[in-house]
Amino acid sequence: MKLNITSSPHIHSPITVKTVMWDVILALLPAGFVGIYFFGFKALAVILTCIISALVAEYVAGKVLKIEFCLLDGSACLTGLLLAFCLPPATPLWIAAIGSIVAIIIGKSVFGGLGKNVFNPALIGRAFLLASWPAFMTSWSPTVKFLSKDWFSLSGKIVKGKEIIDAVSMATPLGYFKEQSLTSGAHFFAKVGQGLIDSTGQVHKMGLWDMIVGNIGGCIGETSAVALLIGAIFLLGRGHITWHIPAPTIITVAILGYVFGSDKLFDPQMMFIHLFCGGLFLGAFFMATDMVTTPITPLGRIIFGFGCGFLIFMIRKFSGSYPEGVCYAILIMNAFTPLIDRFTSPRVFGKGAANG
């Protein structure tokens, strides 16, 4: 009889890094399906391009830089998927591929691979693309009818009468608010109720419900609050994320949006717009909760969440050209993560406070 000698504990929870990654991917699927449903086949093409390029980049970087990696652990796949979720649906596939490669190599591999990176890789990819090809990155497609001819269009080109029109674009709700220098929530709802006009002159009417389910312009995976919430509840239930980051992020944005959102104070409709019209839910539940790049202490995570919420609102409200601030807000807070961890060590059992 040959007996193994190991250090205790001798049993382990069945959850591994692989389970965590694939569970997060699973949690993103509803939002992915909704994105494909509303934006068409081109969204699926962007998602697949991002995932495949991320896997290829992971493999090549792993071999060249001689770092350990495992394509099946789901981490590269998840990075690709998350990047795709924060790209416009009609992003040219070559741009999507470059973004994905940057995300993996600059965002992760150069730091030493899984677990070592400082910034959220997917957001590094997005920030890189936004700086390099701002025109493509701010060209938003309107939603299309499910399974219609336009739905199947891979390039975003549509047929109108006898004309073929290059990528139709239309403002996102938040972008529209900024472009038009709207002053209040009521003003916004009146305008979108009448409809936003896309580049071909077609009118797209929007109501509250459209904003909640995701029938509005935006990035592939960010528009459907309902789908993202389903995923988030799953992750919370599985214990992969905790409330510490998403709750303060969302609450901060909601409060700031409510109080300072429009030109007059206390505008509840502005709170709604800030919650449902941008990338807040995707950011708060899936980007700001990236384990590697966020604090490990409970208090640290709460501070991180507040910081994200505050910066998101400040960028949305005060930046000149960016209608949305989720990406940069989280990247900026990522930079503070080591500092936050350093100053928020939990009180050790039996030390300090309770034992006066």
């Binding site: 007996l3 205790s8 965590v20 939990p346």
Partner: protein, 439 residues
């Protein structure tokens, strides 16, 4: 009843189903016993028998050395064949007395009952407990006569009886509570009488409702309070048990006595009864034999010194080839290298045998800073950070973030999705910190 708990910890799969409803079985006398002289925390006992001596059950064969030590008794009657060197479950070398049974089990002591413990003087009680070689039977094996006498300036106001049994698989304490409640309660009463404590709590995890019911009913006469605890690991760790029941934190580096509490395991309470009321020293105990390799999992009453190999035979041998055998629970127990010349001691609460599939190590990954270890640490430490500092040789830094407060309960390593060897590394780091201090 509302179940109390502490902050941190994790509900670990319990695996208690295969033995929790099985009544204890008395294992027959083994043909020989190998009794280590170091079964407790403190100085090993000194052998007072030699080869060819005849001994009787309950006779002292190892004399305690100094105050923090414990007597060792013969667990059956027969002849001393030799004194050998063995490995104890804690990984220490110890000399051990080998006794060949004469099959008579002739008692050395007068087992006539004395239920009138109320008239006993304090000196008599503590002398009996000391002579009987009683140690903490939850696994820590700290000599009970030391634990019950507080140093000057400290006072025992509260006694907590630990019936949490939070280790997966183990059901020995559970069965003790169900099958020997009267004995246990009398043992507790003796401890209470001796220490002069005002209050007694019996803490039991709520996955043992039968034990809670029985003890609630029977402890009314004694005015002990039964407390239902959330089934969560490590609910039975002294400091966490006190935190759950009394909402008090034992200071870092301190003892339960610092908050006026002494914690005793249910098995220890029964051993105190046996010693005081039945004159019986500690030479047998209840052990849970379980794990997926065991053909017939059981709770058994077994003599100290019985070889593991004998116990496996009694439990119908292995149904699956074992790849790992553990003395104690799966979270804090020790994996052992062989089953011959390896015997049950006073602290052996469980013997588990796992197949290769069951004991397979998980895939290892780099730390992804998921913070599960931080969220679940019952001592509120940052295990992943201590591991990293220890790996980098930064022991002073590790000490600053309270590495020495780690109780090695294993919760962090259990929940870690990256399978980091957290406990192992923290143990190493702690030993380095202590080495550096002693230099």
């Amino acid at each position: 009843m509302k179940s109390l708990s502490f902050t941190g910890g994790f509900h670990i799969e319990e695996y208690k189903g295969s033995t929790e409803h099985l009544a204890t079985e008395k294992m027959g006398l083994p043909s020989k016993v190998i009794i280590p002289l170091s079964q407790h925390i403190g100085a090993p006992a000194k052998p007072v028998v030699k080869k060819d001596d005849k001994v009787k059950t309950g006779q002292i064969i190892g004399q305690m050395q100094g105050y923090v030590s414990a007597n060792i008794h013969a667990s059956l009657s027969g002849t001393v064949i030799e004194i050998i060197s063995v490995l104890t479950p804690m990984g220490r070398k110890s000399s051990a007395v080998v006794i060949e049974s004469d099959g008579q089990d002739e008692k050395f002591y007068d087992a006539s009952e004395n239920q009138n413990y109320k008239d006993l003087k304090k000196e008599d009680i503590i002398k009996t407990i000391t002579d009987a070689g009683i140690v903490g039977m939850g696994g820590a094996t700290f000599p009970t006569h030391v634990k019950l006498v507080p140093p000057k300036g400290k006072e025992i106001k509260t006694i907590i009886i630990n019936g949490a049994e939070c280790e997966p698989f183990l059901t020995a304490d559970h069965r003790t509570m169900i099958e020997f409640p009267e004995e246990m309660l009398k043992g507790i009463d003796i401890i209470k009488q001796f220490t002069g404590a005002e209050k007694v709590y019996i803490g039991i995890e709520n996955n043992k409702p039968d034990a809670i019911n029985i003890l609630e009913e029977k402890s009314k006469a004694y005015k002990f309070e039964v407390v239902s605890l959330q089934a969560k690991y490590p609910q039975g760790a002294e400091k966490n048990l006190i935190a759950a029941i009394m909402k008090k934190e034992v200071p870092s580096g301190g003892l339960p006595l610092d908050v006026g509490v002494v914690v005793q395991n249910v098995g220890t309470a029964k051993a105190v009864y046996d010693a005081v009321c039945l004159n019986t020293p500690l030479y047998e105990r209840i052990v849970t034999v379980s794990g997926n390799s065991i053909h017939k999992p059981k709770n058994i009453i077994v003599r100290v010194g019985t070889e593991f190999s004998e116990i496996f035979k009694f439990c119908g041998d292995f149904s699956l080839e074992p790849a790992k055998i553990i003395s104690g629970g799966p979270m804090m127990g020790f994996s052992i290298p062989f089953i011959e010349n390896f015997s049950v001691t006073k602290g052996t609460s469980g013997i588990l045998a796992f197949s290769k599939e069951f004991s397979q190590e998980k895939e290892k990954y780099p730390c992804i800073k998921c913070a599960r270890c931080v969220d679940h640490c019952p001592m509120w430490l940052m295990p992943s950070k201590i591991e990293k500092l220890g790996n980098a040789g930064l022991f002073d830094e590790a000490e600053k973030i309270a590495a020495l407060d780690c109780v090695e309960c294993g919760t962090c390593a259990y929940v870690c999705p990256a399978s980091r060897p957290l406990v192992q590394m923290i143990r190493y780091t702690k030993s380095k910190i202590i080495d550096n201090k002693n230099r």
